[in-house]
């Protein structure tokens, strides 16, 4: 198997920080994107449920009123 050339010698101080900053950039983009997506999906689902529950309650109230004796 071809060996990895990880001995950067006198250039190590430039090469590995470049890789580290790139890795941090990717981790940051992935984390922020996924957390933001999860947060807003949950918020939208919660509000959707609340709206459905409110609609159901309003329909029940209308039905009760319609069934009331005059």
């Amino acid at each position: 198997m071809t060996p990895l050339h990880l001995e950067a010698g006198k250039y190590a101080a430039f090469i590995w920080p470049a890789y580290a900053i790139t890795a941090l950039g990717f981790i940051g983009m992935i984390a922020v994107t996924l957390l933001r997506a999860r947060r807003w999906r949950r918020e939208a689902e919660r509000l959707e449920k609340a709206r459905t529950a409110a609609k159901g309650a309003a329909a029940d109230e209308t039905a009760t009123k319609a069934g009331d004796p005059p």
Partner: protein
């Protein structure tokens, strides 16, 4: 394809599986690209610093590609008042800013040992810095305007005006005398890079493109949900 995905329901159904598939593809391609790059020999002139090329050049490609996506989405948002196009534009900006920042920082870390300086105000470096400022300006502008429609229009105009910078970035090394090297991949007559460096670079480039695609789709989905939540909250508040 754009017509099909312009429908938010179809977009959400498509991106639900496309984002993770692209993400897995990106992880695989970047792993293979890194392996090929780190097993390749050092350059006869630049030595081991050529390893920075495998992360610097794809980041630079993605910085320009993401701005083209921001500009394209802004065009559809401005001309057709399409909400999903605006969501896609807004989602592309932070990703483009990170790729541009990575291109500048890794370029600086490559330039110091090869050129003897971290930074010069040559046309290529300066135009890429302007690209970063355009991304940051777009993000700041959108954050500063509460009205979604007004923010979309202002952001789209800024993004479209900024498109003029893309050919300047691309051709800066031809139009001006720069410390940054000339075009060596996408040039008439073919790439000047030896296959031992070109293949890992191409694989990394594809990996970065898939990563941007996956993140862009996921970020656009988040923006669609944010707008849905905002709309539902408004409906709940005002009946």
């Amino acid at each position: 394809m754009i017509n099909v995905l312009a429908n938010p329901h179809r977009f959400m159904a498509f991106s639900k599986w496309a984002a993770p598939v692209l993400g897995l593809l990106a992880a695989g391609l970047i792993a293979v690209g890194l392996w090929l790059g780190l097993t390749a020999p050092g350059d006869y002139q630049q030595g081991a610093t050529v390893q920075i090329m495998y992360i610097h050049v794809p980041a630079a490609w993605m910085s320009m590609f993401s701005y083209a996506c921001l500009g394209g989405a802004s065009f559809f948002a401005l001309v057709f008042r399409h909400s999903l196009a605006d969501a896609a534009a807004r989602a592309a900006a932070p990703l483009g800013a990170v790729f541009t920042f990575l291109a500048l920082v890794t370029g600086s870390l490559w330039g110091r040992p090869m050129w003897g300086t971290w930074w010069v105000w040559d046309a290529r470096l300066t135009s890429v810095l302007v690209l970063l400022l355009l991304f940051v300006g777009y993000i700041a502008l959108r954050a500063s305007i509460d009205d979604e429609a007004k923010g979309a229009r202002a952001g789209a105009i800024l993004a479209l005006v900024g498109l003029v910078n893309l050919p300047i970035v691309k051709y800066s090394v031809d139009w001006w005398n720069t410390l940054h090297q000339g075009e060596s991949i996408f040039r008439a007559g073919g790439p000047t890079l030896a296959p031992v460096f070109l293949i890992p670079l191409a694989v990394m480039g594809l990996g970065y493109a898939c990563a941007f695609g996956a993140l862009w789709l996921a970020a656009t989905r988040a923006e669609v949900w944010r707008r849905r939540a905002a709309s539902l909250a408004l409906q709940a508040a005002f009946g």
